[in-house]
């Protein structure tokens, strides 16, 4: 009975999206209540699956009863559970936030429909075990995010959405081309089956071409450095809960997770792909950090900072060692929490003051204490101040770089961390401390749902470091690392449990 819960991760948000679209216009308040119910049930489902995976290690579900490789299978292993908990927890908190934030826009039910569709796509990408199914869910999530970026149809949002859409569909075409070439080489679409055939038959040069195509395609979805140009326009222009969703979850679920799953479990990590990922990670770190220094728009600064932190994640995961992957995954979880918190903060600042320009703000902490203090917690966490959660993940990344004898990478990581601290302190000083400007005298604190989600996210930031203690976080982090480190043996594990 347990394993029939797996398709529910995709079916619940899909069903609720269409129900909200059907009934949300006619019944008042239905869309709010129903979408919050849907995301809460998804979050509790992902929590309920943790002991099941701790006992069984992997769960394979054959959709429609067709055995693989004929049918599509959904695989639930520890890495999947890790990503599912991250995605659904933050989606739930963001849905609570949007209850009051989206009052400013017309047609709230359209927002919830698109939001739930995007969530269905992301959950589908994480849960699936089939290559083309991955592409279909990737497209569902991407198309919903294109339209969500253009939600309030002003000048800049449309321009940002157009740029994002052109680049995003080009990236999806590269991914489809890679899947086509992979299919022609192995004549199978199941991930475990492809892995087994590649090991038996030997890979050859075609694997280099397919890896390059996948790095281009998924790297654009993850905003890796040569492919990052859409992010600084798209993330600030979206409404604040969508910025939090895009920056905190979409680039991770669609970009980092898919790349890690394919490169570690299907292809098997080689030295070349490992060094490419690390070099691109370092480039993202440096470029994102340097470009964030000169920004005056608070959301654009956060968007460049996202590029920088995703560079950290790629540096950790690209290293391939046990400690490196653990550090990368932990930083992925941390970045999801604190970047969403920071974007939600910028949303409440915009809700209360109506501006996003740092030079016009000042001393907001005196009038908006919840926003001010949660912003302080988020900024300290992302800069790596002990004992907050971000410190531990950055420390682990730097330690793993030293352990793998990449001393230059480690020193660059330390320098960029200091740079991160510099620009976040600037944001705090300009926006929240200092004295209140004349035009800002009349602002008030934001309504209750927004406060609740910001406080919950800052609690997770404060105590996230506890997840490293094996007693608490074993089922969560360490098992997820094991899945990636196991690499090619993924195929044997999946086939072994498919009886």
């Amino acid at each position: 009975m347990n394993y029939e819960l797996i398709p529910l991760f995709v079916a619940i948000p899909l069903g609720s999206a269409f129900l909200v679209s059907l009934l949300g216009k006619r019944l008042k308040g239905f869309s709010d209540a129903f979408s919050n119910l849907a995301t809460f049930s998804l979050f509790s489902l992902s929590l309920l699956s943790v002991p099941v995976i701790g006992r069984l290690r992997i769960l394979v579900y054959k959709v429609g009863g067709w055995i693989a490789p004929i049918g599509i299978c959904m695989v639930l292993d520890s890495l999947t559970i890790f990503m599912l908990i991250t995605v659904n927890l933050i989606a739930f908190l963001i849905t609570i936030y949007s209850i009051s934030y989206m009052e400013r826009y017309t047609a709230k039910w359209k927002f919830y429909t698109l939001f739930l569709l995007m969530l269905a796509g992301m959950n589908g990408v994480i849960v699936t075990g089939d290559m083309f199914n991955l592409f279909v869910f990737l497209e569902i999530a991407s198309i919903s995010s294109y339209s969500l970026v253009a939600f309030g149809v002003e000048h800049e949002e449309l321009e940002a959405s157009f740029k994002y859409m052109v680049m995003g569909s080009l990236a999806s075409s590269f991914i489809l081309l890679g899947i086509a070439i992979l299919y022609s080489h192995t004549s199978s679409l199941n991930m475990a089956d492809i892995s087994r055939i590649l090991v038996e038959r030997g890979s050859g040069e075609i694997l280099f071409f397919v890896s390059a195509l996948f790095i281009m395609g998924f790297g654009l979805k993850a905003a890796l450095v040569p492919f990052h140009a859409w992010l600084p326009d798209a993330h600030p222009s979206a409404p604040a809960p969508i910025s939090a969703m895009l920056s905190g979850l979409l680039i991770k679920a669609l970009g980092v997770y898919a790349l890690a799953r394919i490169f570690f479990n299907v292809f098997g990590m080689s030295a070349i792909s490992s060094s490419i990922l690390m070099v691109l990670g370092i480039a993202s770190m440096v470029l994102g950090g340097l470009l964030a220094l000169g920004q005056d728009d608070i959301k654009r600064l956060y968007a460049y900072s996202s590029i920088s932190q995703i560079g950290y994640v790629f540096l950790g995961i690209g290293m391939g060692t046990n400690l490196g992957i653990l550090a990368g995954l932990f930083h992925l979880f941390n970045h999801a929490t604190f970047k969403s918190l920071l974007f939600l903060n910028s949303g409440s600042v915009e809700y209360a003051t109506g501006t996003r320009d740092l030079r016009k703000m000042g001393g907001l902490s005196s009038r908006m204490p919840v926003t001010g203090y949660s912003s302080l917690v988020g900024s300290m966490s992302i800069s790596g101040i002990p004992p907050l959660a971000g410190f531990w993940s950055k420390l682990l990344i730097i330690l793993s770089a030293i352990e793998a004898k990449h001393f230059i990478f480690a020193s660059i990581a330390v320098l960029i961390s200091i740079l991160t601290l510099a620009y976040y302190l600037r944001v705090q000083r300009l926006a929240f401390f200092g004295e209140l400007k004349e035009s800002m005298r009349g602002i008030r604190e934001v309504p209750l749902p927004m406060r609740v989600s910001m406080i919950s996210l800052s609690i997770i930031c404060l105590f996230g470091g506890l997840l490293l203690i094996p007693a608490i976080g074993k089922n969560f982090l360490n098992l997820a690392t094991e899945v990636l480190v196991n690499g090619n043996k993924y195929a044997q594990v999946v086939f072994g449990s498919m009886k």
Binding site: V136, Y146, L158, E159, M165, S169, R300
Partner: protein, 111 residues
């Protein structure tokens, strides 16, 4: 040899997206790129002297081309249709706001 034709079509599409200044031409370029990739995918499934993979009553089939890429390409065509519809809608709204279809003039976001 025919795969090189697909690659040529793909390159034409990418050229349209990169070089052309009119938004509608960029959208046509995206359509050409998707077309080229769908064509490549179907050609991957060709088997020598195969026939169409459709069973009819009282018919025995010796060779068949691979039916799986055909189902996958059907899905990919639908996805391409959705993207095209969305991008055309955004292009219409862009014209409403900026008054021009020229990409180089739609440049309010910088830095």
């Amino acid at each position: 040899m025919i795969y090189l034709m697909c690659l040529f079509l793909f390159c034409i599409g990418v050229y349209c997206i990169l070089v052309k200044r009119n938004i509608i031409k960029i959208i046509v370029g995206i359509g050409i790129v998707e077309y080229a990739i769908n064509l490549f995918f179907i050609l991957v499934g060709y088997r020598l002297r195969g026939r169409a993979p459709i069973l009819a009553q009282d018919q025995v089939i010796q060779n068949m081309v691979d039916p799986l890429p055909q189902a996958l390409v059907l899905t990919a065509i639908v996805i391409g249709l959705a993207v095209t519809a969305l991008i055309v809608a955004i292009a219409i709204r862009l014209y409403e706001r900026y008054g021009t279809f020229d990409v180089t003039k739609i440049r309010r976001l910088r830095g």
